[in-house]
């Protein structure tokens, strides 16, 4: 076989191999939905709209749903009643708590939103960009279920429903009682 043909064959084989590898490896979307899952939850410390300090580490022993939110985001507004219902169902047992991290939003607007739409859980509005970067948040809404030991059990990109959350919690509790 001539050298040129050999070279062409080698290049072709390398390209075919690369196509096969790249076609079967994890996509970025897979990474987005699994990022942080199983890892220790990054810090969430901040001042709530009522002015008190809230720290995720103080919640050890309970499940926590960390919800990244903005009043300017339509899916966030749409999912809010679902979160309110989820909080109401679990308020008696106090087995799950919610914290909202308002991202790129005005504190007064967020406060007004929660007055008008309900939601009595802590809402952090100051310096939340740092928290969003620590959690690798790309676009709101994103929600993370944190185990009583402080690890991330699940990540949800986009709006959630009450059924989704209950299902997620039930599956997580089954694995991490």
């Amino acid at each position: 076989m001539s050298p040129v043909r050999s070279a062409a064959l080698a290049v072709g084989l390398v390209l075919a191999l690369l196509i096969a590898v790249f076609a079967t490896r994890d996509t970025n979307r897979d990474r987005m939905t699994t990022h942080l899952v199983g890892a220790v939850a990054p810090a969430v410390v901040g001042t709530t709209i009522e002015g008190s300090t809230w720290d995720l580490d103080d919640q050890r022993g309970r499940w926590v749903l960390v919800n990244f939110f903005s009043t300017t985001c339509v899916p966030c507004v749409r999912e809010h009643p679902e979160l309110v219902a989820f909080a109401a169902i679990h308020s008696g047992a106090d087995d799950v708590r919610i914290v909202t991290v308002a991202f790129d939003d005005r504190p007064s607007t967020v406060a007004t939103f929660f007055v008008e739409h309900g939601g009595g859980w802590p809402v952090l509005t100051a310096d939340t960009g740092r928290i969003a970067v620590d959690w690798g948040v790309v676009a709101v809404p994103e929600s993370y279920l944190v185990t009583p030991s402080g690890h991330v059990a699940a990540k949800v990109i986009g709006g959630v429903t009450l059924d989704d959350l209950e299902d997620l919690l039930a599956r997580a509790v089954a694995v991490v009682p």
């Binding site: 050298p3 040129v4 790129d104 607007t109 406060a111 960009g129 970067v133 959690w135 948040v137 790309v138």
Partner: protein
């Protein structure tokens, strides 16, 4: 081996040494120390915005890109190395956003593959030429002619490169530093201190003298920081360059309103209403109450019709804007003309139907009901709702205290 062959080989070796040596020297030569701002800009340009197509962190203006830039700036200011910052970004957002991936693992193929392909192509080319030469038989190639052509192309390329060299700053790449593009400068200016922002906008205008965005924002920064004359000039020029640029209409309306030119300010907002402005412009207008303040200024100067037209213009694009309906009702009722008071009350009712806890709607309607419509009981209901609001605007509290509907300092109805 003939004597000519060894001389030719020596020449080629010399050319190779000079070429490789030049590349190495240019790469390792000492470069001017980077400022923190330079480092932030360079790092932001080396990573893709996680949610945008084809834009770097430095070029994108979406919230997450701005937030990541701010984080990079904080880390740089705290003395973190570029490696630590790169590692943090890849850890948080994945290696897909890295324009300069590491040479490890599968990703390292992006560095190795071009070299491999180039090597194979070169080997193939050499083999083809040798085979072609081996065939012989044909006329000898006219080497001097080929050599002259190659030299001509090289000289031409050199002249072209030299011609563009004056457009580049020290440290920029041959093709121009994309990270210093006007888009990047505009983004940097958006988060810079006023003096630095004006300098950055001026740099953009040196590259693109008719950049409406740079003119508008430089004018706005200048005007807000006390350089009123230059600010007005920039804003007027931006409107002249691009009459359909929404941001400058808002800026100039604000500037004209502050200068007492309510008619001019209203004109800018009416033009703005006819443009396809991004929703954030409407949100900013609503948050600043600029339209209402201009309408109040117009009404106070006897231009009630123009004031109502300005509010109606805003209501065309946002029919459910309770704040505009409330302002409209208040201005009509404030004429004390019975017919207009009725129309004003209707507008206030409409505002509160849209938003039952709109503070302006509640306070204005209470004042109108109590002082102009002789309905104190209905006014008391609105006052009760108003006092239940969390942090109502001070100007409304003053209004209700002034009309005797609220007791000063107690926050409760009289």
């Amino acid at each position: 081996m003939r004597p000519g062959d060894s001389r030719r080989r020596l020449t080629w070796l010399l050319v190779l040494v000079v070429a490789v040596g030049s590349l190495v020297v240019s790469e390792v030569a000492e470069r001017p120390a980077l400022t923190n701002a330079d480092r932030v800009r360079d790092l932001a340009g080396d990573f893709a915005c996680p949610v945008c197509q084809g834009q770097s962190l430095g070029e994108s203006d979406v919230p997450i890109a701005r937030t990541i830039r701010s984080t990079i700036r904080t880390m740089v200011d705290r003395g973190r190395t570029d490696g630590e910052i790169r590692s943090m970004l890849v850890d948080r957002f994945g290696e897909n956003i890295d324009y300069m991936p590491s040479g490890d693992g599968l990703v390292g193929l992006v560095w190795v593959l071009p070299v491999m392909v180039g090597g194979v192509a070169l080997a193939g080319g050499v083999a083809s030429v040798r085979r072609w030469q081996g065939r012989g038989g044909g006329p000898a190639p006219r080497r001097p002619l080929v050599l002259a052509a190659v030299v001509a192309v090289a000289v031409l390329a050199g002249v072209l490169v030299a011609g563009t060299a004056s457009d580049r700053s020290a440290g920029d790449t041959l093709s121009g530093d994309i990270r210093s593009s006007s888009r990047t400068l505009l983004v940097e200016a958006g988060v810079a201190a006023p003096d630095e922002a004006v300098a950055l906008y001026t740099r953009v205008l040196e590259i693109q003298p008719s950049n409406a965005e740079a003119l508008a924002y430089r004018g706005w920064v200048r005007w807000r920081t006390g350089d009123a004359a230059q600010g007005r000039s920039d804003l007027d020029e931006a409107v002249a360059v691009d009459p359909a640029y929404p941001d400058v209409r808002v800026f100039r309306a604000s500037q004209r309103h502050a200068d007492g030119d309510h008619v001019g300010a209203a004109g800018d907002l009416v033009v703005l209403d006819e443009l396809e402005a991004p929703p954030i412009v409407g949100d900013l207008l609503a948050a600043s109450r600029l339209r209402q303040r201009i309408a109040t200024g117009l009404a106070a100067s006897g231009e009630l019709l123009a004031a109502v037209e300005l509010l109606d213009s805003g209501l065309e694009s946002r029919p459910d804007a309770a704040a505009l309906l409330a302002e409209r009702g208040w201005l009509l009722a404030a004429t004390r003309s019975p017919e207009l008071v009725e129309r004003g009350l209707a507008s206030l009712d409409e505002a509160l139907a849209v938003d039952p806890v709109d503070p302006y709607g509640l306070a204005y309607r209470a004042a109108v009901l109590a002082t102009l419509a002789d309905r104190p009981e209905d006014a008391a209901i609105d006052v009760a709702t108003f006092t239940g609001l969390d942090g109502p605007p001070a100007e409304l509290v003053d209004l209700l205290v002034g009309t005797g509907l609220l007791v000063a300092g107690t926050g409760s109805g009289s």
